[in-house]
């Protein structure tokens, strides 16, 4: 009988690692707290930099789950160390005793309500990046009349010590540029602004996307963080920022505002860290043994990481780490047990 491995979190990292573990001859037990597998990716419409559909990435993964035991709508009740194994009890009453656990718990989208000055949840024309993806995916646009000007606010809950998120979320810059381009493709007459602090176009073809936004779509980039948003009697928005390149304060009327919510540590992180005596960093993400050379190995024996549980990552990085973690687990399980 093949050996079980518990994988906690059924997003792209968890699914991909489970498939790889299965290919290596193990039986992964994949636990997901939501009703469906796929994580945040299941909600997204298209992916940067080429605009491939998220479902085109996810579908082949979801169609290839033979040999993987997965449980949705299931949470972790407890995890205990017993000799050199881990005993994992699930909320559905089942339990498993395994030598290796893989944490693929991912991230939570930063709650935009926390940035009160942007008025999310108060002004109906302020929406989040995820809600915009819902719109693109379903085709059901919110019923705002006369939308001429829209703005993207970068770094919402990223690089923000006051909001408790000091880290850069890495993917929002290019996501905003992607969404701005998509907007202009759907509605060429719209005026689209991006309010940014730095545009971190670190990946291959990301800079090209930025160039496309400038050249083909005429997206207007303003270097300045939005400081506050207010609403007029008709529900239109007034956005205040400083045009830092010009050195003057700026006020602009908008018909819609998209908040680029960043990645915050998953809410489950502290509880899981407690159960397994793992360490989380100051930023709240799990801390692997080395962020350079062993990003998938934890400080505890038999516990591994993949994906954005250890910090913001792109989809290809996450998938790469999933494979890496499966190999690390394979090597660990092949070393003979200590007598």
């Amino acid at each position: 009988m093949s050996q079980n491995v518990v994988v906690i979190g059924g997003g792209p990292a968890g699914i991909e690692a489970s498939r790889k573990l299965r290919d290596l001859g193990y039986t992964p037990i994949l636990i997901e707290k939501e009703p469906v597998l796929g994580g945040h990716l299941a909600r997204w419409d298209r992916l940067f930099p080429d605009g491939v559909e998220a479902r085109a990435v996810l579908r082949p993964m979801l169609e290839d789950l033979d040999g993987i035991k997965y449980f949705t709508d299931t949470e972790i009740a407890s995890i205990n160390r017993l000799k050199d194994t881990w005993v994992v009890k699930l909320s559905n009453g089942l339990s498993a005793q395994v030598r290796a656990i893989l944490l693929t718990t991912g991230f939570d989208l930063f709650k935009a309500e926390k940035k009160e000055e942007y008025g999310y949840g108060i002004y109906e024309r302020v929406i989040t990046n995820a809600e915009l993806e819902d719109w693109f995916k379903s085709g059901a646009a919110p019923q705002f009349d006369k939308v001429h000007t829209i703005g993207f606010v970068h770094c919402v809950g990223s690089r923000d010590e006051k909001a408790g998120n000091r880290q850069c979320s890495k993917v929002c810059c290019v996501t905003a540029v992607k969404q701005a381009c998509e907007f202009k493709e759907k509605y060429p007459d719209l005026t689209v602004y991006c309010f940014y602090m730095d545009l971190r176009m670190f990946g291959r073809k990301y800079e090209d996307l930025y160039l496309k936004a400038q050249k083909e779509h005429g997206v207007r980039f303003v270097r300045g963080r939005v400081s506050e948003v207010s609403e007029d009697i008709d529900g239109h928005l007034f956005v205040k920022a400083e045009d830092t390149l010009f050195g003057k304060p700026l006020k602009i009327k908008m018909d819609m505002l998209v908040l680029m919510c960043g990645m915050a540590p998953a809410a489950s992180t502290p509880a899981l860290a407690r159960m397994m005596s793992l360490s989380a960093g100051e930023d709240g993400f799990f801390l692997p043994q080395s962020l350079v050379s062993s990003p998938c190995t934890s400080s505890r024996e038999g516990v591994f990481f993949a994906g954005s549980a250890t910090g913001p990552k792109t989809i290809p990085e996450t998938l790469g780490e999933a494979a890496n973690a499966a190999l690390a687990i394979d090597r660990y399980l092949k070393t003979p047990e200590k007598a």
């Binding site: 770094c155 010590e161 006051k162 963080r225 400081s227 920022a241 400083e242 830092t244 304060p249």
Partner: protein, 116 residues
């Protein structure tokens, strides 16, 4: 560029390698957070004085780092210490305290401040 001393106009180039900045070091010792600024402009955008005057805290911080005190300090005179900048600063800089410290270190004199 070598300055031969014949130019009619002073060079407009920033010579940051020549900036000897003991005062800024003094300010830094008093207010370590001054170097945390990421120049996002939130302070300047929310500034009550900024809409009507040249006050711009982001620029004040940058200019002091570049050793340009003369053009910087007059900006600060418009500050009313309302503290809105402090509310929006993503790096959590205590901006009011910083402004007061700049006043202390650079000798922003109260007597000069009162202008009829």
């Amino acid at each position: 560029m070598i300055d031969f001393g014949y130019g009619l106009t002073p060079s407009a180039t920033l010579r940051i390698e020549n900036v000897k900045n003991p005062r800024f070091m003094e300010l830094h010792a008093l207010e370590p957070d001054v170097v945390k600024c990421i120049a996002c402009g939130s302070c300047a955008a929310s500034c009550s004085a900024g809409c009507f005057t040249e006050m711009n805290l982001r620029r004040v911080i940058l200019s002091l780092q570049r050793g340009r005190e003369k053009e910087t300090l007059p900006m600060l005179r418009h500050c009313m210490l309302c503290g809105k900048c402090q509310l929006v600063c993503p790096r959590g800089i205590n901006t009011r305290h910083l402004i007061l410290s700049i006043g202390k270190v650079y000798g922003l004199d109260k007597k000069e401040e009162v202008q009829p």
